[in-house]
């Protein structure tokens, strides 16, 4: 042990470069492993979504369709259990309630019973509905139910028309609390009661078809995809109308997400393994002679194994804990952006990572398993008999040197004798580029429409719809909700009257959709900041002049020009001619409807009223979850839409990359590790060939010639790697992605490619390969190099 400690101490002191490279490799690998596992273990936080209930699969079905049990139960490995029952209040009160959102596919207002000990109760408890606090005549209701039953609510008590309690009195229930969930469109609206008798009483007083059953479907075979598809098919084949049945395939959705996570973890482990192995191989090779000497001096094989493992374990432990510490600090910041990738499902769901000891244990296990396996593999080689000479050069090679194609022939010979290494080289060039290529080729969605005009810098837009062209029913609403100004996170509120996108005008000449905005005081001042061309005086003083931002990307080549006459047509107003007085700078958002800013006094207010409220936040827009929550609570009318412009702007301004920011971070780590592994492997390979280069020098090759030889040697597999990448990339992007775009799956309709990422990786690879070549020839000028070779081969 005395010797082991002395040797390790001196090794760390004298072979600093070796240990630094080892430490960096281990640290990066540890970071990748920890990040990958944290990525897979990160979960959804923030507002809970009613469609994400804690069951593998879930069906809610109306009483009349209860025979779904029979069909679902026929599917092998599916367990069907009744979670709870309830009643659909909508069918009872549809004639007296305000009109529900026209786009809602399922019109259900559910009153359900929850036992405080059931799994669903704890789920509602997370949303603030503590069932244990409910007395028999109390209920929790969603804010949307609160809105629809507003006429029946007095003193926080709902008085149900036409229903009586068991004593014949009008039924009254106290509202214990109001909770909110996300977008109510296509979702059930809940009231929750702990009074089973109450729900039964509802059912007794109404007919069978109002009964609702919640069924949990358990995947007993743990085959999420297969079971999910079978449930989907069974439901589709047996029920043509989805009015009476809703199903939720949470486990299938989770499996799809998890498969992506597993892929990331596997890639992380794979590349960490490569990097760890490359660094250890470089170190072991450089210290190989030491082990031979130590063995000759009488250290037992067991002693050598101990020395060998302790050496790596010391550096490994230091590097791993440093890496895990970094990952723990960095990952929670990185993961916040993951929520954006699910933006199409929810506006408010954000992902977060909380420290989990299990991730530390898993990361440490994975890291040290890879380290031990690599060490073991190298140890077998170390303890085995070493070939005395590993180069390719024979004395007869001198004849080659005078040949014109020596460099090419020699490198081809080298590749043929190192097939495995050449394949690894090609892979290490190709794979990081491909990973990078996937993520920089960003899909741009067409489903979100942030404002593109003078309000594009607002953080939120609260839009009031006009039900019809002349609908003024919401007139004045904005004034009512201006108390939003009191929300902590909001510091400015601006209103704008105008048309809404659902009732856009059409220009007569080219059928373009356009939207109108009134010029209030705020807008009049804003126009100056956005003026690209034209005269604002005409626009500000003449009702038939308009300032426009159109949907062309480039303000220098607008679709509309100063002086253009636009005939705006609608059935209500007939044809109106507007003159373009000013062109406003626009942001390059896709699919924006052209925005016209006009004096609304004589034209706009008379015809349409789609008010908008623009909010500007006090804080950093990336921290918008508090504002989301407050706005959601403040605006309870489900017909009023809240658009998080800050979030959507972030998506657009990053060319969609925000969707993948977390993946970009992960792929960046993978790319760095790949390039580093390439450097380590290639350096080690060339260093092992130094004897060969010394011979080449002895038989008439200059150092410059050896540099050329090595450069060509690296260039051949490098070029092959680039070609393989190009082929894969073209296939993947222009074939698969294009098909996705054509089908408009996930509403992606356009792909943009940023070549700078690929260029950076290629240049980095070239630099690292050049460094490898430099290191391989550095020192072969020295007498000591030739001397060592002579000494080594003299025996």
């Amino acid at each position: 042990m005395r010797f082991i400690l002395l040797y390790l101490k001196r090794n760390i002191q004298k072979r600093t470069a070796n240990n630094i490279i080892l430490f960096i490799s281990f640290m990066m690998s540890g970071l990748l492993i920890s990040s990958s596992l944290m990525y897979s273990q990160s979960g959804a936080r923030g507002n809970l979504n009613l469609s994400q209930m804690p069951f593998d699969y879930m069906l809610t079905l109306d009483g009349g369709k209860a025979d779904i049990y029979d069909n679902i139960e026929k599917i092998p490995s599916v367990g069907v259990d009744l979670i709870t029952s309830g009643v659909n209040l909508y069918t009872i009160y549809k004639d007296v309630l305000p009109t529900l959102d026209k786009t809602a596919k399922h019109t259900r207002i559910l009153m359900i019973y929850l036992n405080s000990s059931c799994e669903l109760a704890s789920y509602f408890s997370d949303m603030g509905c503590d069932i244990t606090k409910l007395s028999y005549d109390e209920i929790y209701i969603s804010k949307y139910l609160y809105y629809y039953f507003a006429d029946f609510i007095k003193n926080d008590t709902i008085v149900f028309p036409d229903l009586t309690d068991e004593y014949g009195n009008q039924l009254k229930l106290k509202i214990r609390g109001v909770y909110y969930s996300e977008d109510p469109v296509n979702k059930e609206i809940f009231a929750v009661s702990s009074n089973n008798r109450l729900v039964n009483y509802f059912q007794e007083q109404t007919n069978l078809y109002n009964d609702i059953y919640f069924c949990s479907l358990t995947d007993k075979s743990n085959d999420a995809v297969n079971i999910g598809v079978q449930i989907y098919k069974t439901v589709k084949e047996n029920y043509n109308s989805d009015f009476n049945l809703a199903y939720n395939t949470k486990k299938l959705d989770s499996a799809v997400i998890a498969s992506g996570d597993i892929f990331i973890v596997l890639i992380g482990l794979c590349f960490s393994g490569l990097c760890i192995f490359a660094a250890m191989k470089l170190k072991t090779d450089s210290e190989y002679e030491d082990y031979r000497k130590i063995s000759s001096l009488g250290m037992s094989p067991a002693g050598i194994v101990v020395l060998y493992f302790i050496d790596y374990l010391i550096v490994g432990a230091c590097a791993f804990f440093a890496a895990f510490g970094c990952a723990s600090q960095l990952f929670p910041i990185m993961i916040k952006n993951r929520g954006a990738s699910y933006g199409q499902y929810t506006n408010f769901l954000t992902f977060d990572y909380e420290y989990k000891p299990a991730v530390l244990v898993l990361s440490a296990l994975s890291f040290f398993c890879i380290l031990m396996l690599s060490a073991l593999f190298l140890l077998i080689r170390l303890l085995g008999e070493r070939k005395t000479y590993s180069g390719f050069v024979k004395k007869s090679s001198a004849a080659y040197i005078n040949g014109k194609t020596f460099i090419f022939d020699y490198n081809i010979l080298n590749i043929r004798r190192n097939k495995m290494y050449t394949c690894l080289f090609v892979f290490l060039v190709c794979f990081p580029l491909f990973i990078c290529g996937i993520y920089i080729t960003s899909a741009q969605g067409s489903s979100i429409y942030p404002s593109g005009g003078i309000y594009s810098d607002a953080d939120y837009c609260i839009a009031v719809p006009a039900e019809s062209f002349n609908d003024n029913s919401f007139a004045g609403f904005i004034a009512d909700v201006e108390n939003i100004n009191l929300i902590d996170t909001v510091y400015r509120v601006y209103c704008s009257g105008g048309t809404d996108s659902e009732n856009a005008y059409y220009t007569e000449n080219n059928q373009d959709e356009i939207m109108f905005f009134e010029l209030n005081d705020f807008a009049r001042n804003k126009l100056k900041d956005y003026l690209a061309e034209g005269n604002l005086d005409d626009v500000l003083n003449n009702d038939y002049f308009a300032a426009i931002t159109d949907n062309e990307y480039d303000a220098q080549n607008p679709k509309y020009h100063i002086g253009d006459k636009i005939n705006v047509f609608s059935e209500e107003t007939g044809s109106i001619e507007l003159t373009i007085g000013a062109i406003l700078r626009n942001y390059p958002y896709d699919d924006n409807i052209a925005e016209f800013y006009i004096n609304g006094n004589t034209f706009l207010r008379a015809n349409s009223y789609g008010e908008r409220l623009y909010l500007y936040l006090k804080n950093d827009v990336s921290d918008y979850s508090a504002a989301d929550e407050q706005l959601n609570k403040a605006v309870i009318d489900p017909r009023i839409t809240i658009t998080n412009q800050a979030g959507e702007r972030m998506l657009f301004q990053n060319n969609g990359i925000t969707y993948y920011r977390i993946a970009v971070m992960m792929s960046f780590l993978i790319c760095v590790i790949s390039v580093f592994s390439l450097f380590l492997f290639h350096t080690q390979k060339l260093l092992n060939r130094r004897d060969e280069f010394i011979i080449l020098k002895r038989i008439g090759y200059s150092t410059a010639d050896i540099v050329k030889l090595n450069t060509a040697g690296a260039a051949i597999p490098f070029a092959t790697g680039i070609l393989v990448f190009a082929a894969l990339y073209i296939y993947y992007i222009y074939d698969i992605y294009s098909k996705i775009a054509e089908l408009n799956l996930y509403q992606y309709d356009k792909f943009s490619i940023s070549y700078i990422g690929i260029l950076i990786i290629v240049v980095t690879m070239i630099i690292t390969l050049a460094a490898s070549v430099f290191l391989s020839v550095k020192g072969i000028e020295d007498e000591s190099g030739a001397k060592q070779f002579r000494e080594r081969n003299a025996g």
Binding site: L6, S296, L297, G298, S300, E791, A794
Partner: protein, 220 residues
């Protein structure tokens, strides 16, 4: 320690061709004497020395130390034998580059988990003329100095036998002579069995016994 080699043969495979390095060689090493193995390059001298020293398994035959076949011992016992009974001096010195001369010399003692006998170590260094260089690493020393450090290391654990593989091969004549004097004086002073390989016939004249090898055959 009585050392006896019986019918030693060693073959190597180089590509597809078989190289016979040693052919049926038997010899006995005299105790506390200075024996030399001489022969031209490629005659199998170093191979024979490595086999005698327990560093290289013979293809056939056996090496007996006090009638015990060392290649039938476990790897651990072989290592123990190398550490306690044998000292080696390699042609390329075999010093650990990260350790100082003194640390290199102490290596076999430290491997035994013992505290080095510094009096003995410094006496060795004095005998070999390297007392001024003990705190330098091998890269800071000349070839002759490194070789003397290697000799000191070989004797540090007070082994019974010293094997030296062309210890003067990389040295100029003057340094080689000094090196030989060092080994001879150490051998006499500490009464060691010394087996040395060299192709220098003049050095062989100073030995008590000479074994001549040619093309893998022993020509006594």
């Amino acid at each position: 320690m009585n050392i006896c080699a019986k019918n030693i043969e060693k073959e190597y495979m180089q590509g597809e061709s078989r190289i016979i390095a040693l052919r049926e060689t038997s010899l006995e090493i005299a105790q506390e004497k200075f024996s030399v193995i001489v022969g031209p390059s490629g005659s199998g001298k170093s191979t024979l020395l490595r086999i005698l020293g327990g560093l290289l398994y013979p293809t056939r035959g056996e090496v007996l130390y006090n009638d015990v076949s060392i290649y039938k011992l476990s790897a651990g016992k072989q290592a123990l034998l190398r550490r306690k009974t044998i000292g080696y001096v390699f042609q390329d010195y075999g010093l650990l580059p990260t350790l100082t001369a003194l640390e290199n010399i102490c290596t076999p003692v430290l491997m035994d988990n013992k505290k080095p006998d510094m009096e003995h170590i410094l006496d060795l260094c004095d005998t070999l003329g390297i007392q001024e260089r003990v705190h330098h690493i091998p890269g800071e020393m000349s070839g002759g100095e490194q070789q003397r450090v290697a000799v000191a290391r070989a004797l540090a654990n007070n082994p019974e036998i010293l094997f030296a593989d062309e210890p003067t091969g990389n040295l100029d004549k003057k340094t080689a002579n000094a090196m030989m004097e060092s080994i001879l004086s150490a051998q006499k002073k500490y009464k060691k069995t010394v087996v040395m390989v060299t192709h220098d016939e003049s050095l062989a004249q100073k030995a008590d016994f000479v074994f001549k090898l040619d093309n893998g055959c022993l020509m006594r």
